[in-house]
Amino acid sequence: MIGTLIYYALFPLTKLIGRLSESWWKVHPGHPVFINGKEVWDGGGAPFRRLSEQQTALLDQWRSTGSEPLEKPKPANQERGNAEGLVEGRFVLEREVVAEVKKEQEMDLLHKDTENICSADPAGPDPESLEEARAFSSVMEKDASDLPEVKREETIPSGNESDGLNVLDEKDEVEKLFSTIEWTEVQGAAALGSKGGVLYKEERRNHKEMEETTADSQPEEKSCRKTGESEAQVVEGSSVFNLSALLADGHAESLNSFTQFQSVPAGWHFPVGLGLSEAVCYPSVQFPTMSYYPAFRENNSLEVMWRVWEDLNEDGDYSIAPPTACVDPCNKFTFTVMSYNILAQDLLEANYELYLHCSEGMLAWENRVHAILKELQTWEPDIVCLQEVQENHFLEQMHPALIEMGYICIYKQRTGTKTDGCAVCYHGDRFIQLSVSLLEFRRHDCELLDRDNVGIVLLLQPISEHGEGLQFSPICVANTHLLFNPRRGDVKLAQLAIVLAEIDSVVKQCKTKGSDCEVILCGDLNSLPNMPLYQLIATGQLYYHGLPAWMVSGQEDLSYKIHHRRLYAPLWPSSLGISDYCQYSSVYEPHTKSSGKLQYNHDFLQQLRYCQAACVRPADLEFIPGVTDNKPNPEEKQLFSPSRFKNTICHGLNLSSVYSPYIADTERCAVTTLHSEGAAMVDYIFYSTGQGGSGVCKDRKNGLKLLGRLTLLSEADLWSMNGLPNEMFPSDHLSLLAKFQLG
């Protein structure tokens, strides 16, 4: 609600201010043009123009005259869509400006700082940058003439000197708007305090990294320690100063996306892939309503306008201290994980009717693979779990590209005649592979498991960037794509049990060696949130007795059917070798652990219950009527078997989902897949939280900490972009991306 108000109120205002500032800059070319680190890094990207004190003073004047009641002018629709990116940046700038007016001392400090940056910057000292900026605006003019309709709004401020007059003509409106901004300022502050807070944090870090990059002239800077150092310098300024500089970056970023969108002449070059934290600071996060308007078409990089990085680091108090991960880089390991069903081309073509809403071009593999790889380059996840990876496409196109990007890949094709499969790729400089298991769910001796789905379970050892002697826990990464068939929840559960049993076995092997093991389970589970299959993963157990099989995944409501396949014990035959605890029954075959203990699990012990030796009455057993006069009866076997009593399956991994079923602060469902027959959340990243015990065990240190995630979108959001796949999202699934901290 507030977001909407702010949006409607501020949009025209920011547009005007944008024009104003640009035209002002045109009229007074003598004003200093400040270039922050970003442009240099870009090799001469979009110059950023900051309002001078003179300007802000004028604005201040306007503000003081503005006393008319609050009003919500309706923005012109056609411009709105086109200008989204810029408007966002300017909106932030505008608020920033107001803050500056109030605090001139900080302003001075800011100037000083930006000058410092400029002078420290070998590539772009002030005068040169100014020229670049001019060149830039002429470029914009040129492009604008090529694409007059789309860029009209941009053309006006950059090309037309008389525009300033136009703005003045509209002064009445401006006054109204300023009365609005006074109001908005308060609201905005509140909104920023709550929703936007995280955003600022991210931006702040972003800023630091960029500064660092400037100093080092390196295209990418991932080292936490270095960032931390540069942070230390920056923190010496006041917090207001930091905020300002950061917002400036946000603005610059928006401009960059804009310039990238322009057909840039040769000689300009832009970074191939934005680092995670660089790319995520788009201010548009504050305005969920923005996403209902179509954005630029031709630009893949603008996906970040729609899907926003959400920082969840609850104790990362960025406004006071540097990010936790950077303060103490030596005992933390942060990494990102992506799960992505990229829609195999064969499956797309086999189910063409699901994609009739898409243009031919959007469905062409060549276009899609380009966009998929671009998405990977944008985010550079440390671990990528892909589903529906078609083998020939993987071998010919994706694998070489992934290797180029520094990934080591494991691929498992589905069984039978299926052409696609799963892949897990990890950055070779961040992890060492300890073990790999390729899972096939088809079992020839089991009627239930007659489907061709597969999974991959990897054990990865994080490589410590800083520590000699510091050893992080290994991470077990499982990736799978469960059966789609909405009616066969029984099969899905059995397939999932195989994955869980394999994870359990990997974790146990780690524990045998004396180390903890964290777990990431991700993939396309073809099941909806909070439905039984999900419950099994998230709560650790599922009571299934009599459950209709379709309900397990909840993909479709088949309750209208007369006949339901229902779940009864045993869910899977014991020949599968997996217990109701989703563990391999044979794991507990007598083995001597490091402790020297002979361990047997329940199921193993039960197997021996009616063995020959056990059915003979012990010679020394005194006969006490009513106490020791029982006779072994193999037929009572069922009596105490788990199936008879429990009708429950469970697992011992403490797993939580990265994503909640709803878009934050709304009641709209978040979806991970969409095609013409529906939309739902079926992809997940689950991670081990290590909350094994309560109370006493509270201070256990293991478990992964979720630091952030790339937000999902609602079905309406996606349909406003013509559904999936579309120009921004090349699959009928969205990528899931999460950042974790270990240690």
Partner: protein, 236 residues
């Protein structure tokens, strides 16, 4: 000397500690000596048979039952508790277990005890004296399954608390059944927490099940207070 035993036998308060199947009397340690001799001579040391699956520890089944009606005043707890047999392997365990009645089918005021060989199911045993137990009270109908799950977890070393586990008891009472698991060191909170968590997992308990930890010293004190026998025990 036999006061406590007598009192115990007279006790009808079904939900006191001794009902968990472990009435105590320090006195009996002396009187027991003959019986101990008797047991050791009677029973050969148990070893796993060829090809059997050895257990980490040998265990002994015990059975106790309060005599219906007025118990003979001369009977001691010690006399009232019976060794059923010891075993060293999974197969041997099943031999005994399969020939025993399920706890849920026991009649009267009875207990099964399963303790490591050499540890008596008594508070005063050296292994138990600074220990305690987790107590789970069960509505009727659950005891057989829970008991089986509990002892299988214990025999299979699922509790992962080193040597801490002493044994387990199932107590059949009039309106409820009680299962408990005893460990050596009541003050070791990490151990007791781990035991509790394992219990929750292996017993598959209803979510609202109440679990209570009680040290044996508290049990003894409560028992003595209840029976007004502080002086008697003080004189031991």
């Amino acid at each position: 000397m036999n006061n406590k035993f007598d009192a115990l036998k007279d006790d009808d308060s079904g939900d006191h500690d001794q009902d968990n199947g472990s009435p105590k009397d320090s006195e009996k340690e002396k009187t027991e000596d003959e019986e101990k001799d008797q047991n050791t001579t009677k029973r050969k040391p148990v070893v796993p048979g060829a090809g059997e699956h050895p257990l980490q520890y040998n265990y002994t089944f015990w059975y106790s039952r309060r005599t219906p009606g007025r118990p003979a005043s001369t009977q001691s707890y010690e006399q009232n508790i019976k060794q059923i047999g010891s075993f060293a392997s999974v197969e041997q365990f099943w031999r005994f277990y399969s020939h025993m009645i399920r706890p849920g089918d026991l009649t009267g005021h009875s207990d099964f005890h399963l303790f490591k060989e050499g540890i008596k199911p008594m508070w005063e045993d050296d292994a138990n004296k600074s220990g305690g137990k987790w107590i789970i009270r069960l509505r009727k109908g659950l005891a057989s399954r829970c008991w089986e799950n509990l002892i299988l977890a214990m025999l299979g070393e699922q509790f992962m608390v080193g040597e801490e586990i002493c044994g387990a008891v199932v107590s059949v009472r009039f309106q409820e059944d009680i299962i408990s698991i005893w460990n050596k060191t009541a003050s070791d909170q990490a151990t007791t927490a781990r035991i509790r968590d394992t219990l929750r997992r292996v017993l598959n308990l209803p979510p609202n099940t109440i679990m209570e930890y009680k040290t044996h010293t508290d049990s003894i004190k409560a028992w003595e207070d209840f029976h007004g026998l502080v002086n008697a025990s003080g004189g031991r």
